[in-house]
Symmetry: C2
Subunit: 409 residues, 2 copies
């Protein structure tokens, strides 16, 4: 994607919002699930859109996740999202409420309930106050617009205690026309007690068949949202969705010249949002970008990277700005993936701290200078092949413990 062919170019949109995508309107309102901030978002597509989704691997799946899984193959016209209540561990009543949310949105928009997807995030184990949801959907439907501000309102309404909205948008240009791709997300990890869930919603105005969209999206998610970790806790509600409504008049097919550009921009939007989520992780002081390279295959590199980034001992070492490569070696060792410990090189920034699995002399002050930064690049070279993966994690801090040991309320 770095060497675009003539007439195939792209640009990053500096003021991103889902509403930059043609044929999409959005709204974000307050309906009383949270004390005062916006807590219900609505996204509407003028035309039926192809939808693709990637959902939590957790065996405990919230009602809206089950609803989305069942409907993802339909043409989709709308998405309704509430924050403040996860509608998880809520049984048959919870599923009724998720269906009711879709039905209320469908009625307000004059579309079919089967064309509506639903997501929820917030407290686990409490039933949704459906009367407030009903009022929220009514207000949101009335407020729908394709303005920049409406996009901001929707991005704000899906947050729990994230400190900032997460958005990204690109414009792609092909000889036959231009298209847009934009996304919004909310934080991973339990940013507040009982507040679960990573949510990511991406809209595009290309025309693309569902199977190809699902394939490209799964690849993009595997290289972005599936390579970030804040605390290793997989929520019951994690959902990433992409909607493609064809409003731009540009079609993406397996053989089309725009395929690489679209796939590349889909990757960029996902990675951009994923990094924004990590950067807003609970109580963090460091973002760790870990590259595992020289691996025999990408799947092994992926497991090793996630295991290192989930180790409490590695995470506290980064919090303490400690070039503690022994903890990285130990975490690699229990990842359950074969590799030769005596071939491993480890670098913190440009400073090599371990060679062939053992100590190597290095200047502590050089490593310290890297470790004092907020963003730290760490490289593990297995010297066993040519596969590589880059993943993102955080440190583990006193503030994380404070945030997550607060009583529910």
């Amino acid at each position: 994607m770095d060497n675009m062919k003539q007439n195939i170019t792209y640009s990053r949109i500096e003021a991103p919002a889902l509403t930059v995508v043609q044929g999409f309107a959005a709204a974000g309102v307050h309906c009383g699930l949270k004390r005062s901030s916006r807590d219900l978002a609505l996204l509407y597509s003028e035309k039926p859109a192809s939808a693709a989704g990637v959902f939590t691997q957790n065996r405990v799946q919230a009602a809206p996740v089950q609803l989305c899984r069942a409907r993802i193959g339909n043409p989709i016209r709308a998405l309704v999202v509430n924050s403040g209540n996860a509608n998880a561990c809520t049984g048959a009543k919870g599923m009724e409420n998720a269906q009711e949310m879709a039905a209320l949105a469908a009625a307000a928009l004059g579309i079919d309930p089967g064309e509506v997807l639903v997501c929820s995030t917030g407290v686990i184990g409490q039933q949704l106050p459906i009367d407030r949801i009903q009022a929220g959907i009514r207000d949101a439907a009335a407020a729908l617009s394709s303005s920049y501000q409406s996009g901001q309102d929707a991005a704000a309404a899906i947050l729990t205690t994230d400190t900032v909205t997460k958005q990204a948008a690109y414009r792609g240009s092909l000889p036959e026309g231009s298209f847009h791709l934009a996304g919004m997300a909310k934080g991973a990890g339990m940013i507040c007690p009982n507040m679960a869930t990573m949510l990511a919603f991406i809209a595009t105005d290309v025309q693309i068949a569902r199977p190809l969209l699902q394939q490209l999206f799964q690849e993009a998610v595997d290289r972005s949202f599936n390579l970030i970790t804040i605390d290793g806790d997989t929520s019951t509600n994690d959902t990433a969705l992409v909607l493609a409504n064809g409003a731009a008049g540009v079609e993406i097919t397996p053989g089309s010249p725009g395929l690489d550009l679209f796939a590349g921009l889909l990757n960029r939007v996902c990675r951009d949002l994923a990094r924004q989520i990590v950067s807003d992780g609970e109580g963090i002081t460091k973002v760790i970008e870990l590259t595992v390279r020289g691996a025999a295959d990408e799947a092994a590199a992926r497991v090793l990277a996630r295991t290192v980034l989930n180790s409490p001992l590695v995470k506290t070492a980064f919090y303490g700005e400690d070039a503690n490569w022994g903890r990285i070696m130990a975490a690699l060792g229990y990842a359950g993936v074969p590799f030769d410990p005596e071939q491993v090189d480890i670098f913190i920034g440009p400073v090599q701290v371990a060679s062939r699995g053992g100590a190597v002399p290095f200047r502590e002050e050089e490593a310290k200078a890297v470790l004092q930064q907020r963003e730290i690049a760490v490289t593990v070279d297995l010297n066993a092949g040519s596969a590589a993966v880059t993943a993102w994690g955080t440190d583990l801090t006193h503030e994380y413990v404070t945030i997550n040991s607060h009583y529910r309320s």
Copy 2:
């Protein structure tokens, strides 16, 4: 074991030490690996002992672990243990040093180097100062005795920053005579930066063939040390060893009447030591005893229990004394084991907090009263079978972060 047959009884020894076991002598000395406290332990058996061992699953295995694995089938006369340096990630030189430790102990004791096992715990990635080890082994060999105090000295010398020694001992009585079983251990988790390793050493004076001893020990370890977790980080040096020297004149065979008693006491010693390790976990304020029952099989129950006890969100909730059952449900869900979320009941102490996967009304103050205790029993009932497992974990505290973010020194 609760219904002992006539003439088959046992008693707990109130002042436990390895040296209560006949035919074993011990010593613990200071040789300069740590600043001032004892850092080298020696255990000696008058007769060659059958040995069985269970070692770390970490792919990065310290040199002494590799040495023990290679020699565990030999008749064993001595065990030498140093704290303050893990001899891990130390390459060929590290293996030479582990062999040299065994050779030095063998020379001091007048036995064969193949009869000596070696363990190390402490900083990863630094070579052992073998001259200090040499002096320590010389002093320890001179100090060997079967006194109670020598047992205490050995138990102290294997610690890193554990705050107390961990010991347990039992006497078993059979019609043909009595025997002893005693153990000492050091803490799991990285109790100090870079200080790795759980170590457990058990001695007994029964006569038992190695294959049976290994089988019984593996079962006991699976129900004790393999069911505790403090931070989920598996060290490079974890080692549990049992030595049986036959000095009591009691033989345990697959058909002998004392088999159940011996196996039961081996389980008790292991569980007792395991609980002592958890109770001395780094920075903890709570010990959580989690029982997963109603499982289809024990293997599944084991994975579920460990996943819940390793969840940072579950651990911080207990630190905050929060009856946050939604986090327990979420952790069960990502354990990777099949179960039906809608059948799960959860109890905190006697208080049911979730029923069939959903909320159930309970009195917060009753749950709070349980959560304010230092030891908290939690029960997860899967309502799917008759298998059950009990595992032990801790909360995650500010003090844990403080301890583990300190700079190496």
